[in-house]
């Protein structure tokens, strides 16, 4: 297996002088392709900062970040956008779908941004996440779990090497949470994606290959598993 995401001594500081906040403190992390890891930890511990740094949304203060074989240092906003389009998928809280688009168009959307080397077929992908029967519905006509499934299909359509998942079950009940995270695990393993999921939900951690805990910007193996 090859690494989908590599973080080497990554630190992220906000502000300067005595007001400095350390969001990430020398974080080392390697996620292999086909590996599904979860990051747990209290609010404000730096979980979202980790996703932002790994997703080329924020440049870290120190350290190196690689997505596949590509180092993220020194990318312009435009290059970072291209990299996200080609190599990174995002799954957000409650899907964050575009209100005007049908499920099918949501999945096609990332393919309209520019050339993608090896896209998946949006129709097939929608069937794979179990949403082909609602291909022509808009987000307001879908349940929370359905929105999240469409969001997952949207993240996978570009065949990303790295999938970053932000609190996918925040708005879901217990059964739907299990379904959605199970789907993420299956896609991760079947398509060789390196998946990093940030979550509060300890009930879904058994789907993950590894669980890490974030405390005050430091990353360590989780002490207790649910």
């Amino acid at each position: 297996m090859s690494a989908g995401l590599t973080l080497n001594a990554v630190s992220l500081l906000y502000g300067d002088g005595p007001e400095t906040v350390t969001a990430l403190d020398s974080v080392d992390l390697t996620v292999e392709r086909g590996e599904f890891i979860a990051i747990v930890g209290p609010s404000g511990s730096g979980k979202s900062s980790l996703l932002a740094v790994a997703g080329a949304l924020i440049t870290p203060t120190e350290g190196t970040v690689r997505v596949g074989d590509r180092e993220l240092a020194g990318l312009s906003a435009r290059q970072a956008g291209e990299l996200r389009r080609e190599r990174i998928g995002f799954v957000f809280q409650s899907g964050n779908l575009v209100p005007a688009l049908t499920s099918f168009d949501q999945v096609r959307l990332p393919l309209t941004f520019g050339p993608v080397p090896d896209p998946r077929d949006p129709r097939e992908l929608l069937a794979e996440v179990g949403m082909e029967h609602k291909a022509n519905r808009r987000p307001h006509e879908l349940s929370g779990g359905e929105r999240q499934r469409v969001g997952i299909a949207r993240a996978l359509v570009t065949r990303p090497q790295l999938l970053l998942v932000d609190e996918p079950t925040a708005a879901l009940d217990r059964q739907r949470s299990q379904d959605v995270v199970g789907l993420l695990a299956r896609e991760t393993h079947e398509h060789g994606v390196a998946t990093v999921m940030v979550t509060h939900d300890h009930d879904v951690l058994h789907h993950c290959d590894r669980v890490l805990e974030m405390t005050d910007g430091r990353l360590a193996p989780a002490t207790a598993r649910a």
Binding site: A52, R85, P110
Partner: protein, 374 residues
């Protein structure tokens, strides 16, 4: 343009409202443009249809009332004829009169006195051209008022009689009054207030309003003015000397300019609010890898579609309303050129407003897509 069109059809209610506002502004712009053209026609079509390059008025005459105040000696015509580049120069007289036809039609006329057979002597669509003193050729619009070839009109209060011998094609009006062309000597007697049967002082025949100059190429008007002791204006400059012309056109122009500005501001405000509402959605789309350029192009395209459709609807309504107005006595005339210019301005300024509004897309940080949502 993937997002733009789907967004338009999804939020069609609010886009339709915005489009309605733009359409109503376009309708107003078309009506004002028609009114402008109509007023210009009413004010100066008599001058526009003259084959004249410039008029030489009395020296230092007040520019805004030159046609009614100017008095030029007849000799000036010969001086102007001798100028380089001048193909022809002729005497021109102008007076406004009240008249009544022998069939009881009351009519105001702008009398244009010209030498019979000169380049100013107008062609007629019906009847005959000017030949003898005491004859008059009238505008098509005067014929519509009920004056016909063969009628005799009597000027008030002097009582001078003129025989209508011909009617010109098209509208010839000056200061909202129908034009009547008549031989120069008859005009000079009327302008001097000579009553029928009075003895005419010789100097009456020495005075005219202006020298009408025809010069196909470049001509040094200043040199002619120095030689003849006149103040000349090109034909277009002389429009401003027509009664009420400047006041009317500048008022309408001001209203139109305000409409363009209002339209740009309204469209800008709409897209500002829309962009702010879509802020989170746009951050998500940028996090997914859309470039700023992609989103800007998409939004500008969206505003272009909105503006073009709305302007087309407004112009169509305006043209329909204009057709209804054209049959009324209101001075109104639709002109494809000025409507096209006005519509283009409306769309372009609307686009500028929208562009300024959607530029804020470039300041949206994709990081805000993470974490707590809407």
């Amino acid at each position: 343009m993937f997002l733009a069109l789907r967004e338009l059809s999804f939020a069609r209610g609010r886009f339709a409202l915005m489009g309605l506002v733009v359409a109503l502004i376009a309708l107003l712009v078309v009506l004002l443009s028609g009114l402008s053209v109509g007023l210009v026609n009413d004010g100066v079509s008599g001058l526009q249809r003259m084959p004249v390059t410039a008029f030489a008025f009395q020296q230092d005459v007040a520019k805004d009332s030159a046609f009614s105040r100017s008095v030029v000696e007849l000799d000036a015509v010969d001086t102007w004829r001798g100028q380089d580049g001048v193909e022809a120069a002729e005497a021109f007289g102008n007076t406004l009169v009240n008249a009544r036809s022998d069939r009881g039609v009351e009519i105001d006329l702008a009398l244009f006195g010209v030498q019979v057979g000169s380049f100013l002597d107008p062609e007629v669509a019906s009847g005959a051209r000017l030949k003898n003193e005491g004859e008059v050729v009238i505008s098509d619009t005067a014929a519509e008022e009920g004056v016909a070839v063969g009628d005799t009109i009597t000027l008030e209060p002097a009582g001078t009689s003129l025989k209508v011998v011909g009617v010109m094609a098209d509208q010839h009006t000056f200061g909202h009054v129908d034009v009547g062309y008549l031989p120069l000597k008859t005009w000079q007697e009327i302008a001097a207030g000579v009553r029928p049967g009075d003895e005419v002082p010789a100097r009456v025949y020495e005075e005219i309003t202006a020298v009408a100059i025809k010069a196909p190429g470049d001509v040094d008007l200043a040199a002619g003015d120095r030689a003849a002791g006149t103040t000349s204006m090109t034909r277009e400059e002389s429009f401003g000397a027509s009664p009420g012309y400047t006041a009317e056109t500048s008022t309408l122009l001001l209203i139109q300019v305000f409409l363009y500005v209002i339209s740009a501001l309204v469209v800008g405000a709409f897209f500002t609010v829309l962009t702010i509402q879509r802020k989170h959605e746009l951050a998500v789309v940028r996090a997914l890898g859309a470039s700023t350029g992609y989103l800007l192009r998409d939004s500008i395209f969206q505003s272009l579609v909105l503006l073009v459709i709305a302007a087309a609807v407004g112009v169509a309504l305006g043209v329909a309303a204009g057709a209804a107005l054209a049959s009324t006595p209101m001075p109104f005339a639709l002109e494809a050129g000025s409507i096209a210019t006005a519509t283009l301005l409306l769309v372009v300024l609307g686009l500028v407003g929208a562009a300024v509004a959607v530029l804020r897309i470039s300041r949206i940080d994709p990081v805000t897509a993470l974490g707590a949502n809407r």
